[in-house]
Amino acid sequence: MTHLAYLDAGSGSLIVQAVVGGVAGAAVAAKLYWRRLVARFRRQPTDQG
């Protein structure tokens, strides 16, 4: 179940917390961006077709 806090945490504010969480955190952020990149390339052929 998706549960949202009453406060808008801010998307950028969530991601930056991974980056400031040391090497392991930066790796999480890198993985997130890598997955976003891969997802974009995967989506493109479908979008065109």
Binding site: S11, V19, G21, G25
Partner: protein
């Protein structure tokens, strides 16, 4: 302010989290919880870490009201300890804001380690018992969900970290920034202030620049999507704890040494003669003793000498002073003594805290919070009347307005021929204040209360008055 037929007065500053609401009834403070918040509360109440926070006083005293009152629309009602005097972060000194931030992080770290988190990260989650910070937002605790960063991080930055960075790195007093913006300072504003080599100062590159850039780049992404992406990428509770540890280390490193201020040395440079000081101390001690307990306001408190005398008899003392550096010095001294009854606050009495936030009532104005049993205004009136041109009658109206009927006003009148009054008058055109006279002052005072005692100090240029307010 809504007072219902059940005698409930809802706290105007408590509406942002619809799951719980603070209200007042019969002079006590309560918090109503909906079903979901009640479940979170039961889990919290059963946890060891929360019991420890309560036992050590780091979280305000809280107990469940049993049975739950049937005349109230809440699943569960909590009763809170009363905070002696509600203050706002823009009334705190640098050291106070820093200690408040550290307590907030300490509580978050304890919560995370026990499988809980805090829903928010606002400076308004904290209040003071004297010079000791206390976390008041019990409704903010909830069970943590694995793989999620802290939802309150942005708020923590905007209302606690950024104001500290402004003061520590740039030497700017943070209070006007917080007073003007209830949600604090935005990362984008901070980025403009921390351009060039300033971005290399501790904490700036990540918490300001990177934070701002990430916000801009992810403005179109929903927090639901980003939470899912972070979870999938392997974000863990350990990482959240590492972030809190990093923030704590950063805040501890931020040290601010104020520039020399005229007022820091005021008590020394404007030294009274020994007989004057002794007479004044005796007068104040006797006046506060006659009033007894309750709340005393020391306006223009400087180094807190008279606030400490007031604390011999009053239950709580609020020491108000306009110079942030002076308040910070007083705070450090009181904190080192473990003082729990004297609260130092930064405020210019010619520009007191107005009401703020939603409809101007979310953060109550200073005048609406005072209601003091004793008001001390020592060596203050000439600064307002001669230094700031406030008409003498209006100065007295403000002093009387900050007290309650049946309370006491202790006020010092510095005669126009006193060296300190002369110094202020020398900066103004001759004859600008024809009414600044002792006889005028006394007749204005008589119109506002009953004169109990009057003593002229041995120097002959200052007079102290004890006035019973409200007849």
């Amino acid at each position: 302010m809504v007072v219902s037929d059940t005698g409930v007065r809802v706290e105007p500053g408590s509406f942002r989290d619809p799951g719980n609401r603070v209200f007042h009834r019969h002079g006590e403070v309560f918090r109503g919880l909906d079903e979901r918040s009640a479940r979170d509360w039961r889990a919290l109440a059963a946890s060891d870490f929360f019991r420890d926070l309560l036992a050590t006083g780091r979280v305000c005293g809280t107990e469940e009201l049993l049975p739950t009152p049937v005349d109230l629309p809440w699943a569960t009602v909590l009763r809170h300890e009363r905070i002696p005097f509600v203050s706002h972060p823009y009334e705190w000194s640098y050291g106070m804001l820093r200690d408040a931030a550290l307590l907030h992080l300490e509580i978050l770290a304890a919560a995370l380690a026990a499988g809980f988190t805090l829903k928010d990260g606002s400076a308004y989650n904290l209040q003071w018992r004297g010079a000791t910070p206390v976390f008041i937002d019990v409704g903010s605790f909830e069970p943590a969900r694995d793989g999620e960063p802290w939802a309150g991080y942005r708020q923590f930055c905007q209302t606690l970290l950024y104001p500290l960075l402004l003061q520590a790195h740039l030497g700017l007093d943070f209070q006007p920034w917080l007073r003007a913006r209830i949600d604090g300072i935005e990362p984008e504003q901070m980025r403009r202030l921390f351009a060039g080599t300033r971005r290399l100062r501790a904490g700036v590159l990540t918490h300001v620049h990177l934070h701002g850039a990430m916000q801009a780049r992810n403005a179109g992404a929903s927090t639901t999507d980003v939470r899912a992406q972070l979870r999938a990428a392997g974000y863990t509770r350990e990482l959240a704890l590492a972030t809190v540890r990093g923030l704590t280390k950063l805040v501890r490193r931020l040290d601010h040494r104020p520039a020399d201020s005229h007022w820091v040395d005021y008590q020394r440079t404007c030294a009274y003669s020994v007989p004057d000081r002794q007479a004044k101390e005796q007068f104040v001690d006797r006046a506060v003793a006659a009033t007894g307990g309750g709340l005393a306001l020391d306006l223009g408190a400087n180094d807190g000498r008279y606030a400490r005398i007031a604390a011999r008899h009053a239950d709580h003392v609020v020491a108000v002073e306009q110079d942030p550096a002076v308040v910070d010095a007083l705070y450090q001294a009181l904190r080192d003594e473990g003082e729990q009854r004297i609260l130092p606050l930064v405020m210019d009495l010619a520009d007191p805290s107005p009401g703020g936030g939603w409809r101007g009532v979310e953060r109550a104005a200073f005048a609406d919070r005072s209601g003091a049993d004793t008001v001390l205004a020592l060596a203050l009136v000439h600064h307002l009347a001669l230094g700031r041109n406030v008409p003498l009658a209006e100065v007295l109206d403000q002093l009387v307005g900050l007290g309650t009927a049946g309370g006491t006003l202790v006020v010092e009148f510095v005669h126009p021929e006193d060296p300190m009054a002369r110094r202020l008058l020398d900066n103004k055109p001759d004859g600008l204040f024809p009414d600044y006279r002792r006889d005028t002052f006394e007749s204005l005072l008589a119109a506002r209360g009953r004169l109990v005692r009057r003593v002229e100090l041995p120097s002959g240029t200052r007079t102290l008055y004890q006035v019973a307010l409200g007849g």
